[in-house]
C-alpha cells in the first residue's frame, strides 16, 4: 500500500511539473492543480496509512484511531488550493483578455492584441 501511495504521489508530481513547465496559462493551471493533489496526498500520508479506522471517537470504550492531525491540515489545504486556483484562473483570464494571448512568458514581443477603435466603444 505504501508503494502505491508513494508512486501515485510521484506520478502526480511528475505530471504536474511537466505541465507547469508548459508555455500557456491553462496547462500551467492544470499542472498546479495536479501538484496540489500530490502535495495534499503526501501530507495526508505523512500521518500513517490506515484502513477502517476513522478519526471519530468511539462511544464504546477503547479503540484505535487514525491520525487526525494531517487530515485537518490537508482539509484546509484543499480549500485554500481551490482559492489559489481560482485566483490563478482569474489572472490567466484577465491577461488573456488584455493581451489576446495566454502565454505566460514575458520578454518575447508578440501581437499585443487588436487595436480598439474609438468609435467601437458603446454604452452599456
Amino acid at each position: 500500500m505504501e508503494m502505491i501511495v508513494a508512486s501515485a504521489v510521484g506520478v502526480l508530481t511528475a505530471g504536474g511539473v511537466y505541465l507547469v513547465l508548459r508555455l500557456r496559462a491553462f496547462p500551467v493551471i492544470l499542472g498546479l492543480a495536479m501538484l496540489s493533489y500530490a502535495v495534499n496526498v503526501f501530507l495526508f500520508a505523512a500521518g500513517k496509512l490506515t484502513t477502517n479506522l476513522p478519526p471519530i471517537l468511539s462511544k464504546y470504550g477503547e479503540a484505535t484511531y487514525t491520525d487526525p492531525l494531517p487530515q485537518a491540515l490537508v482539509l484546509t489545504a484543499i480549500v485554500i488550493s481551490f482559492g489559489m486556483t481560482a485566483v490563478l484562473v482569474m489572472v490567466a483570464l484577465a491577461s488573456f483578455l488584455e493581451s489576446d494571448s495566454d502565454r505566460i512568458n514575458l520578454g518575447r514581443s508578440e501581437n499585443a492584441g487588436l487595436p480598439v477603435e474609438p468609435g467601437q466603444e458603446e454604452a452599456q
Binding site: 508530481t13 505530471g15 476513522p54 481551490f82 482569474m90 520578454g107
Partner: protein
C-alpha cells in the same frame, strides 16, 4: 523581567527619544532647536555622572530586560570603565558639537534634520558602548552606519557628499555584515550572546577551531569602521560632511567604534599570535601610510582625516600588542586623541567658515587675523605632534616605549623604527598645520576676510584645549579614569602611573628623532610635495568605483541570465534546485531502518491506482485539447477522493469531492473565454528536457514519500485524540482540531479564502471597465453552442434538488462536530446547489433572485467567527477558547450546543460567500460578452407555449 540600574537603559534610549524634538523645535528658532537637542544629551550625561562614582570604584552596573530568553535575546546593558570612558566622550563631545553646529550651520541648512540625525547617531553610538548583548550591539553597530550615512550625505546638493556617504555606507556596511557572522560564531562557541559571559570565556574561544574565522570576521568589521588599511579610503571621502559631523564622527566617535570593539573583545580574542600579527601589523601599516599621505594633503580636513587614520592605526597597533601596558597606552591615547583632534576639526571648520577656503596653499598668516583660533589650533596641533607639556606627548611616549620593546618576526627593531617614522611624519604634518596656516606673512587675498568667529563657535574647541594642557602638564589627573578603563579592557586591575618625565628612555630618543626629523621634513616640504605630486600612486576612489562598477556589471549579467521574464525558466530553475537540495539531503545523513509494517493491498486499490496513473498520463499527453484534459483531471480528483475514503479520511473525501466539482465548474467557465486548444510551441528538445526534469522530480518525491511512509514518526495527535471530547466537546477529531485546537489557523484560512474571492471580484471589476471589456464585447462566442441553453429537464431537476441539497448541507453542517462534515464541506455543498441554479436557468435569471450579496456573506462569516473567538474573552479565557454544554428539549433527543458550532457557522458562511463570489465574478464575463439575457427560467417552457397557443386560437 528586569533588574539592575534603570538609569542605564534611560541613558541608552534618551537620544532616540530626544531625536523627535529638534524636528519640531526648529519652528521655534535655531537656538531653541539647538537647546532642545542639548537637553537629552545633557540629561544622559548627568545620569552618567551620577553612575560614575560607582564605576570608578570598580563596580559594573548592569540592567537587563528579558525579551526572548530562549533565543538569547535580551535588552541588556552594562557600564564598566571602558563603557564609562566612551559614553562620557560621546555625550560630552556631543554637547560641544551641538553648540558648535548651532553657529556653524548656515540659515539655509535644515537644522532640525541635522540635529535629529545627530541624536540618532549619538543613540546608536551609546548603544554600542553600553550593550551587554552582542546581538543588540550588532543592531546598534548597523544603526551607526545608517545614521552616519545620513550625516555624511547631509548636504544632499553636493555630489561629493552623496558619493562619500555611499562609499562610507558600502565599506562600513560590508564590514558590519562580516562582523555579524563573526559575532554569531562567537556566540555559538560560548553558548551565550551576553558580552559578560563571552569576556570570561577567552580561553575557551581561543582554543576553539572556529577562533580564526570569528577573529577575522570581527576584525573586518572593526577595521572597516575604524578606517584601517586597506579600508582607510572611505574616511577622507566622508569629509564632504559638514565639519561638526567630521569632528564628531570622524575624530571622537564612529571611527573609534572599531577601536572600542577591539578593546571590548580584548579579553576574549587578544593575546594569540594571530591577533598580534594581524592587528598590530595592520595598525602599524595604517599608522605610517596615513601619516605619510597626511603630510601631502592641502585640504585642511583631508590632512586631519589622514592624520585620524594614522592615529587610529596607532591605537589598533597598541591593542594588537596584547600587553597590559599597551592597553593602558591605547586607552590614554583615546582620551588625548579625542581632545586634540576634535578641537582641530572645529578649528578647521572655523577657518573654512571665515576664510571660505580650506586649502592650505591659499592660507597662511592667519595668526594675525584670527588670534584666538590660532592659539586654539596651535595648542591642539602641538599635542598632535607629541610636543611635551601637551597630552599627546605622554601617550605617544608610552606608545613608542611599547613599540621599542616589541619583537616582530624575530626582528627587535622594525616596529620601533616604523613607529618612529610614523611619529616623524605626524610631527611634520602637525607643524605644517601650524606654520602653513597660522604662520607666515599675511596674504593680500583670501576668498573672504578672515576674522575670529563669535564666542559660541570657538567656545567648544577652546574647552577641549583645557584638558589638552592640563593632562599634558599634570598627567596623573587622568590616572583613575585610564586605570579603570584599561582594567575593563584587560580584565585585570591596573595601577599605572602617568608621568611627564620617564628619564632617558629609548622612547625619549625616538621622540627627539621624530621632532627633529619632522621639522626637517617640513623644511623640505616644497620639493617633497612636487615629487609626491609627480609620483604615480593608486587613487582609492578610482579603485573603489571600478570594483563597484565590476560588481554591478556582474550582478546585471547574472540577473539578465536568470531573470529573462520567462516564468517557465524560473519554475524550471526552482524545480531543479529543489530536487538538487533534496538529493543533497538524501545523500547526507543515514536513514533509520524502516520500522513500520506495510499495509496489505486490497485488489480494488489496484483499479484506482491504474485509473489514476492512466488519467495523469492522459492529461499530460492530451493537455493540448483543453476540454479533454479537464474531463481527465476530474478522474484524478475522483480517485483521490476515493483514496481518502479508503484510507480512513471521510472528511477529506467529502471536501475533496465538493472542491473538485467547484474547481471543474470554475475551469469550465474560464475555458469558455480562453482558447480551446494549446498550440505546439516548444521544440522537441525542450519537451524532452521538461520531461526529464518532471520525471526526476516525480521520482524524487516518490522516493521521499516512500521513505517517509515506511518509518514511524512521533506525533502530537495522541493529545488531540485524548482531549477532543473532554476539551472540545466533539467526537469528530478532525473537526474539533479545525474549530478548536487549531481554530486560529482556520480563522486565518477563511480570511484568506475571503480575500481570494474579493481579489477575483476586484480584478474582474477592473477588467470589465478596461480595454478587455471592449474586446469582450467584440468576441464571437456563439459558435458550438447548443440551441437549448437552459433545458427543461435540467431546470426542473435542479429546482427539485435545491431544497434537498440545502438540507444535506445543513445536515452535514450540524453533524460536523461529531460525525464527518462541518462548515467547510457544508459551505461547498450549498454553493454547488446554488451554482446548479445558475447553470440551469442562466446568470441573469438567477441573479435577479439573489437577495444577499456574496461580499456580505464573507464579511458576516469572518465577523461571526471572530466574535465567537472574542467571546471567550468575556469568560476571561484566551481568544478562541470554546465552551459547550448539553441541552435537552423534550420532544428531541438530548443534543449538544457548542460555541465551536458558531465558529463553524462563520466558516460555513465565509466559504459559501467566497466560492459564490468567485464563480459569480467569472460568469459576469459572459454577460459582458453580449450574451442574450434570458428572462424565463428555461428556453422552452411548455406551459407558456400552451397559453400562447390558446391565445392565438
Amino acid at each position: 523581567m528586569s533588574d539592575g540600574n534603570v538609569f542605564l537603559i534611560i541613558i541608552a534610549l534618551l537620544p532616540f527619544a530626544g531625536a523627535l524634538l529638534p524636528g519640531l523645535m526648529i519652528r521655534a528658532g535655531r537656538t531653541a532647536c539647538a537647546g532642545f537637542t542639548a537637553i537629552p544629551t545633557a540629561l544622559a550625561l548627568t545620569m552618567l555622572i551620577v553612575l560614575a562614582p560607582d564605576v570608578m570604584r570598580g563596580e559594573v552596573i548592569q540592567y537587563e530586560l528579558q525579551w526572548l530568553p530562549q533565543l538569547g535575546l535580551s535588552a541588556s546593558f552594562f557600564l564598566d570603565g571602558l563603557g564609562l570612558l566612551f559614553a562620557g566622550m560621546i555625550l560630552g563631545v556631543g554637547l560641544l558639537i551641538t553648540l558648535y553646529a548651532r553657529f556653524y550651520l548656515s540659515g539655509e541648512d535644515p537644522m532640525g534634520q541635522f540635529y535629529t540625525y545627530l541624536l540618532l547617531f549619538q543613540g546608536a553610538m551609546l548603544g554600542i558602548v553600553l550593550s551587554d548583548n552582542i546581538l543588540l550591539l550588532l543592531i546598534f553597530w548597523e544603526l551607526t552606519s545608517l545614521s552616519s550615512f545620513l550625516l555624511i550625505g547631509y548636504w544632499k546638493h553636493l555630489p561629493e557628499g552623496r558619493q562619500g556617504a555611499r562609499m562610507a555606507l558600502a565599506v562600513t556596511g560590508a564590514g558590519g555584515l562580516a562582523m555579524i557572522g563573526g559575532m554569531l560564531i562567537l556566540g555559538n562557541i560560548v553558548g551565550s550572546y551576553n558580552l559578560t559571559d563571552i569576556l570570561t570565556a577567552g580561553d575557551q574561544i581561543k582554543a576553539h577551531e572556529w577562533y580564526m574565522p570569528a577573529l577575522i570576521l570581527i576584525l573586518l568589521g572593526a577595521f572597516t569602521k575604524s578606517a584601517q588599511f586597506p579600508f582607510h579610503f572611505w574616511l577622507p571621502h566622508a569629509m564632504a560632511a559638514p565639519t561638526p559631523v567630521s569632528a564628531y564622527l570622524h575624530s571622537a566617535t564612529m571611527v573609534k567604534a572599531g577601536v572600542f570593539l577591539m578593546a571590548r573583545m580584548w579579553p576574549a580574542l587578544a593575546g594569540t599570535e594571530a591577533w598580534f600579527y594581524i592587528v598590530a601589523s595592520v595598525g602599524l601599516i595604517t599608522m605610517v601610510v596615513g601619516a605619510v599621505i597626511a603630510l601631502f594633503k592641502d585640504d585642511l580636513k583631508a590632512l586631519l582625516a589622514f592624520s585620524t587614520v594614522s592615529h587610529l592605526g596607532l591605537l589598533t597597533m597598541l591593542l594588537g600588542f596584547g600587553t597590559d601596558k599597551a592597553a593602558i597606552a591605547a586607552v590614554f591615547h583615546i582620551i588625548n586623541h579625542l581632545t586634540f583632534k576634535a578641537a582641530l576639526f572645529m578649528t578647521a571648520g572655523i577657518i573654512d567658515h571665515e576664510a571660505h577656503t580650506r586649502d592650505i596653499k591659499r592660507l597662511g598668516g592667519l595668526s594675525a587675523l584670527m588670534p584666538i583660533t590660532a592659539v586654539i589650533g596651535t595648542i591642539a596641533a602641538l599635542s598632535m605632534a607629541g610636543i611635551p607639556l601637551f597630552n599627546g606627548f605622554i601617550s605617544k611616549e608610552k606608545m613608542l616605549e611599547e613599540a621599542a620593546h616589541t619583537v616582530w618576526w624575530d626582528n627587535p627593531w622594525i616596529i620601533g623604527a616604523l613607529a618612529t617614522l610614523g611619529a616623524l611624519f605626524s610631527v611634520a604634518y602637525s607643524l605644517r598645520f601650524i606654520f602653513h596656516v597660522f604662520g607666515g606673512p599675511v596674504r593680500d587675498y583670501y576668498p573672504a576676510k578672515p576674522h575670529d568667529p563669535p564666542f559660541g563657535m570657538w567656545a567648544a574647541p577652546a574647552l577641549l584645549c583645557v584638558p589638552v594642557v592640563i593632562i599634558g602638564v599634570m598627567p596623573h589627573l587622568a590616572e583613575p579614569l585610564v586605570n579603570i578603563a584599561a582594567g575593563a579592557v584587560t580584565g585585570v586591575e591596573q595601577n599605572a602611573k602617568l608621568k611627564l618625565w620617564h628619564g632617558l628612555t629609548p622612547a625619549l630618543y625616538m621622540s627627539i628623532i621624530a621632532v627633529i626629523g619632522g621639522a626637517v621634513l617640513l623644511w623640505l616640504h616644497k620639493p617633497l610635495d612636487r615629487a609626491w605630486i609627480a609620483a604615480p600612486r593608486p587613487e582609492a576612489k578610482t579603485i573603489f568605483d571600478t570594483v563597484i562598477a565590476a560588481i554591478v556589471a556582474l550582478t546585471r549579467r547574472l540577473t539578465d541570465l536568470l531573470f529573462t521574464g520567462e516564468i517557465s525558466r524560473y519554475l524550471a530553475i526552482f524545480v531543479v534546485a529543489s530536487v538538487a537540495l533534496g538529493a543533497v539531503a538524501w545523500s547526507g545523513a543515514g536513514l533509520a531502518a524502516p520500522d513500520r509494517a506495510p499495509l496489505p493491498v486490497d485488489p480494488v486499490v489496484w483499479v484506482g491506482w491504474v485509473l489514476l496513473i492512466v488519467a495523469t498520463g492522459a492529461v499530460v499527453v492530451m493537455h493540448r485539447h483543453r476540454f479533454r484534459a479537464l474531463v481527465l483531471i476530474g478522474i484524478i480528483g475522483l480517485m483521490i477522493s476515493s483514496g481518502f475514503v479508503f484510507l480512513s479520511a471521510p472528511d477529506l473525501a467529502l471536501t475533496q469531492i465538493s472542491v473538485e466539482t467547484v474547481t471543474i465548474l470554475l475551469l469550465l467557465i474560464a475555458l469558455h473565454f480562453l482558447p480551446k486548444e494549446t498550440p505546439v510551441e516548444s521544440s522537441a528538445v525542450r519537451r524532452l528536457r521538461d520531461g526529464v526534469i518532471a520525471l526526476v522530480a516525480g521520482g524524487g518525491v516518490a522516493a521521499v514519500a516512500y521513505a517517509f511512509l515506511q518509518r514511524n514518526v512521533e506525533t502530537i495527535s495522541d493529545y488531540h485524540l485524548a482531549n477532543s471530547y473532554e476539551g472540545g466537546g466533539g467526537t469528530n477529531v478532525v473537526n474539533v482540531i479545525l474549530v478548536d485546537f487549531r481554530g486560529y489557523d482556520t480563522y486565518g484560512e477563511i480570511i484568506v479564502l475571503g480575500i481570494a474571492g474579493l481579489i477575483i471580484f476586484a480584478v474582474m471589476e477592473a477588467l470589465l471597465d478596461g480595454p478587455a471589456g471592449r474586446r469582450l464585447r467584440q468576441m464571437e462566442l456563439s459558435q458550438d453552442r447548443s440551441r437549448d441553453r437552459h433545458p427543461l429537464m435540467m431546470v426542473v431537476a435542479t429546482r427539485v434538488m435545491m431544497p434537498i441539497a440545502l438540507m444535506v448541507g445543513i445536515y452535514i453542517f450540524l453533524r460536523g462536530h461529531n460525525q464527518p462534515g462541518g462548515g467547510f464541506v457544508a459551505g461547498l455543498v450549498v454553493s454547488i446547489a446554488l451554482l446548479m441554479q445558475y447553470m440551469a436557468s442562466g446568470f441573469a435569471w438567477t441573479q435577479n433572485r439573489q437577495r444577499i450579496e456574496y461580499h456580505t456573506l464573507i464579511g458576516w462569516g469572518v465577523i461571526i467567527a471572530g466574535l465567537t473567538g472574542a467571546g471567550a474573552w468575556l469568560a476571561g479565557k484566551p481568544f478562541l477558547t470554546s465552551a459547550f454544554g448539553y441541552v435537552h428539549w423534550p420532544p428531541i433527543e438530548e443534543f449538544e450546543l457548542a460555541t465551536a458550532m458558531l465558529f463553524d457557522l462563520g466558516v460555513f458562511l465565509a466559504v459559501l460567500g467566497a466560492v459564490m463570489l468567485m464563480l459569480y465574478s467569472l460568469s459576469r464575463l459572459a454577460r459582458h460578452a453580449g450574451e442574450t439575457v434570458n428572462v424565463e427560467p428555461m428556453d422552452y417552457d411548455p406551459v407558456v407555449r400552451e397559453d400562447k397557443r390558446e391565445g392565438e386560437a
